[in-house]
Symmetry: C2
Subunit: 379 residues, 2 copies
Amino acid sequence: MNGHGNGGCAAAGVPRAAFGKADKGADFANYFCTYAFLYHQKEMLSDRVRMDAYYDSIFKNARHFKGKTVLDVGTGSGILAIWSAQAGARKVYAVEATDMATHARALVAGNKMENVVEVIEGSVEDISLPEQVDIIISEWMGYFLVRESMFDSVIYARDKWLKPTGMMYPSHARMWLAPMQTNLGERKMQEYQHAMDDWSRFTQETLDQYGVDMGVLNTPYRAEQQKYFLQTSVWNNLHPNQIIGEPALVKEFDCLKATLEHTASLRSQFRIPIDPGNLQIAGFAGWFDVHFRGCASDAADNDVELTTAPSVSDTTHWGQQVFLLHPPINTRNGDVLVGELEVTRSKQNHRLMDVKVVHNLERRDSPPAQPTISQFHIE
Amino acid sequence: MNGHGNGGCAAAGVPRAAFGKADKGADFANYFCTYAFLYHQKEMLSDRVRMDAYYDSIFKNARHFKGKTVLDVGTGSGILAIWSAQAGARKVYAVEATDMATHARALVAGNKMENVVEVIEGSVEDISLPEQVDIIISEWMGYFLVRESMFDSVIYARDKWLKPTGMMYPSHARMWLAPMQTNLGERKMQEYQHAMDDWSRFTQETLDQYGVDMGVLNTPYRAEQQKYFLQTSVWNNLHPNQIIGEPALVKEFDCLKATLEHTASLRSQFRIPIDPGNLQIAGFAGWFDVHFRGCASDAADNDVELTTAPSVSDTTHWGQQVFLLHPPINTRNGDVLVGELEVTRSKQNHRLMDVKVVHNLERRDSPPAQPTISQFHIE
């Protein structure tokens, strides 16, 4: 559900004030508020791949919606709720935490669906519904699937409001990781070095002109710049040619069964033969896909896939997340990239992620090397 | 105390969650957090005009500091506290709300001032000092002086911690407004119109492809884009030639006497002869200056001025705030621009400002025209 360049000070390593899930004021200021802008909603509504997938998932499976009750978690402009009603739902509860709910209500009325769609302003954790529902539909996915941690809210809603016979739209979600080529790493390294040269000049001038030695801050400043330039994942729309090796499936969710323990911490091993070899792995690319399959007892008539894999013509506003390696890894034909991915919530902001990749190149006739540990932040 | 492009979702017109001064979590997420970055501190420490003014105000008036107690409100990196100690202060309390306080402590120690400077992490409203102080020093000024509303914290600290004989550094602050030339207004109008054309295409496509009529959102979308492109003040470093008329002094503060009532709402009349006339007033420029004069009973040996007026060589990171007029005002020789400026706190975020300018062109041998009301937001 991202906007590219979603602002907020969400990244700040900050003050003593408790900054956990309980701090609703901060959560609204950091996270929810962007979604209150119509411009941001329009960005997402202009993503044709996203729109086509949800549209098809509903209308090609209208049978699932006809005469049923639906809960739309995070309705935003109200689009999914309106489509659900147009597909024949008896009743749709469209929950939205921001005052975008006011616009959703207007849009519902403007499309003559006010008898079916009820817009409720509030967090899905806080609101109350008069009944349980047959379908929970939501567009909750963030960069690399889990950024924003909105899936937690969908799980909460499912446990509280979905009938035992109910189904989830989407029904499944997967995370993928692949080694990639790019010159972005080189550029970021240059920018980092430039920032450190600039700091060096600055500390010298501050000492000369103002009699204050900033040298004691060299180490934290370097750490801050390293985090910013080298360790923070980068949004990008990659060309498929940039992927060098078979993408590894690192996580699968069944949206009917996933728990908060499953989403809190993801850990996964991978083994990726590098193809064709004699290439430089400049980083990892991460992306996701979701599927709309209905449920075991009532499969969708038409499976629909929404993928954010690198593509020439079917790009999305999610792009992919690029985790740059410094230094890059030089490979030979036959090499296999082996490792483990771990994705955890940032302590400072549960909606942001820390990503750790422990990796190693296996080479024929070579002794195993020490694994490299690369740490990243999804901001 | 701004950084150019100070992020945060501070501008969002947002959710039901109470968003006033009481909401500390949101306040930290929106406002304080930027100051926790060393990069941001460095930006401000690299502002030579700012640094020179504070440096001179202290060291050219070292007599005020020798053997005295000082409170530095919002110490950031600790620079003002260190200078105060170097100038001979007996004790300096350096208060900082963010975890930048940790770096300030390190900087104090690195410059061998730990026996004089005590860094205290917390909001100045919350912390406790063992004694009252002779001087309160602070760099609290935001865009157009009052953005960020940090002066309120300085006033609070003064009323609680300054001795009756104490003084403020700076001692005085002024706000200025002047008519200006620029082509920025034209550009913003084009960007706005482009955004509306784009919206028009978008709503047509959404209806054609997805069967949902977004037309009911035309009005709020237009309002949102107007606010963004036309009514939000713009940061700029103006050339003095762009000012067409004598700048009007719209507010003066004596930092020893100012009250929260004074800062909550500013209203001021102005009369500006347009010089040379036959020009187009494309907007208003707003800026501030501060002075370091000591106090009535103990004047500074050397008055120091820090001004952010348009300048060729002495620019600051504050720049000026540009309030664009749509349409611009065409003037003739002899015209006088008459009006009233009102600056109030934004309801959604007390650290942001709403600016209203009621203005009128007085022309010889012409009947008075209806005043124009122009509304702006400082985000």
